[in-house]
């Protein structure tokens, strides 16, 4: 009985520390969308994303934003078409709100609910898995946003009358540090 009490007293501080308020700022980021067409497989990458996170009262709220025009697919013409198709001049930012339990900020897997604002539309995605790895003072979070054209009412661009696939997954690779 005494041993159990001792063990409980020993372990009790861990969740208390894990639940402490914290703020996070993104250091490095790479967001890549993948576009599929029977004739093309294109990836466009942006390293211009910025992010901030707040963990408070058992919940973490992270905000990530990236300018639409910062994505580079290796071809200017294609990038301009992408901006046009996604109404990127009218709605120049992709804004992602991620929300997950504060306890997961220290675990290797994060299960987040996302609210994504893109192309003037808002879409919600529940239980999106992210992987977390700690590297010194930095925390690296990787995962994939399961975006689709239809979620944001984007008319799918076509080539040779064949439209691109509806799915445009966005790979997220961001490093964060606690403030």
């Amino acid at each position: 009985m005494n041993r159990k009490l001792l063990l409980a007293l020993f372990l009790l501080p861990l969740p208390i520390f894990a639940q402490a308020d914290s703020q996070w700022v993104a250091d490095h980021s790479a967001l890549s969308y993948h576009m599929s067409h029977p004739m093309h497989q294109v990836d466009g990458t942006s390293q211009a994303a910025r992010g901030k996170g707040v963990c408070h009262a058992g919940q973490c709220d992270f905000l990530i934003a990236v300018p639409v025009k910062s994505f580079d697919s290796g071809d200017t013409n294609r990038d301009l078409h992408m901006i046009e198709a996604t109404r990127g001049a009218q709605f120049p930012m992709i804004v992602v709100h991620a929300r997950f339990p504060q306890a997961e900020i220290t675990s290797s897997a994060i299960d987040a609910d996302l609210e994504v604002q893109f192309a003037g539309q808002t879409a919600h995605y529940a239980h999106v898995p992210f992987q977390r790895t700690a590297q010194g003072n930095e925390v690296r979070i990787t995962g994939t946003l399961p975006l689709t054209c239809s979620d944001f009412k984007i008319d799918r661009p076509s080539f040779l009358t064949v439209p691109i696939k509806n799915e445009i997954p966005v790979r997220v690779d961001m490093s964060w540090h606690a403030q």
Binding site: P38, R50, L80, A89
Partner: protein, 321 residues
Amino acid sequence: MDLKAASAAFRAGVFLLFVLIPNLASAQATATLSGTITDAAGKPVPGAKIYAHTASMNQPGGQSAATQTDSAGSYSLPGLALGSYTVSVGADGFTAKETNVSLTAAGSQTLDLMLTASAAQQLPNAPSPAPAAPAPATSAPAAPSLGDLGFSQQQTQANPKLQAMLEKRTEMLKIHQRLGLITAIPMAATLITGPMAAAKGKNGETIKEPTNANLDFHAALGGATATLYFATAYFAIRAPKVPGVQKHGAIRWHEALAFVHGPGMILTPILGAMAYNQENNGEKVHGLAAAHGPVAVTTAIAYGAAIVAVSWPIHLKFWEK
């Protein structure tokens, strides 16, 4: 020069052009709602939030879009599916206004609204339009907002004029793309019938065998090719240029190759007409006219390479849906 044949070639080209272009330019079934928000004095209201949604916005197929007015009080909501919308407008210092609008035809529709001064109003039930991100419903006192991330106003500011320019550019380049692919068909046929064109006799008499692929047919195909080619070029040249964009990637090859096939498409018909005259005069094609074939082949190769360049990288996976 056989004026009849040249005229037939030209008519064939023009016919193809006018039959094809209306189909290429067919509009999508979306509309753009735009207009100006003014106050009671008729002055524009910048920064007003406009939110349009269908009755079933939370159901599959429901539509919603949001934006805000620019410094001239103008707004634009492109890409709205046709249907009935409720449009809400709000701005600091004005009473929020709501009205219904029906988008029944593709294209642009104007909705100008006047706001009356009041205490600061919040737009009812409307998310903030990008770039201003709505704060999530959380009790956290310092939940991050877009303003915390340090983006410049230039990065986050909506630019409806640029959007309109990009849409016009895309429309024109879509037509350019389709016409370009169609042009490749008569171009290939012209190349194939070129060697057969010698079936016309040296003294001008028509040799009836082996096929109809004689000089006149070849010239008609060439005329159609040239007409379609220059129509294709028109849509690329006249497409709006986006300022401040440094081009890179395959598009540069696509454009560079135009400096080969462009002059080639001018030279080829001229040399072809010279060769045509020489053949009709019973002469063997000679001098500059003898370059008609090689110039045509070079032009076609450059044209094909330009299509490949703009399609790069190519991954042929037609079996994938």
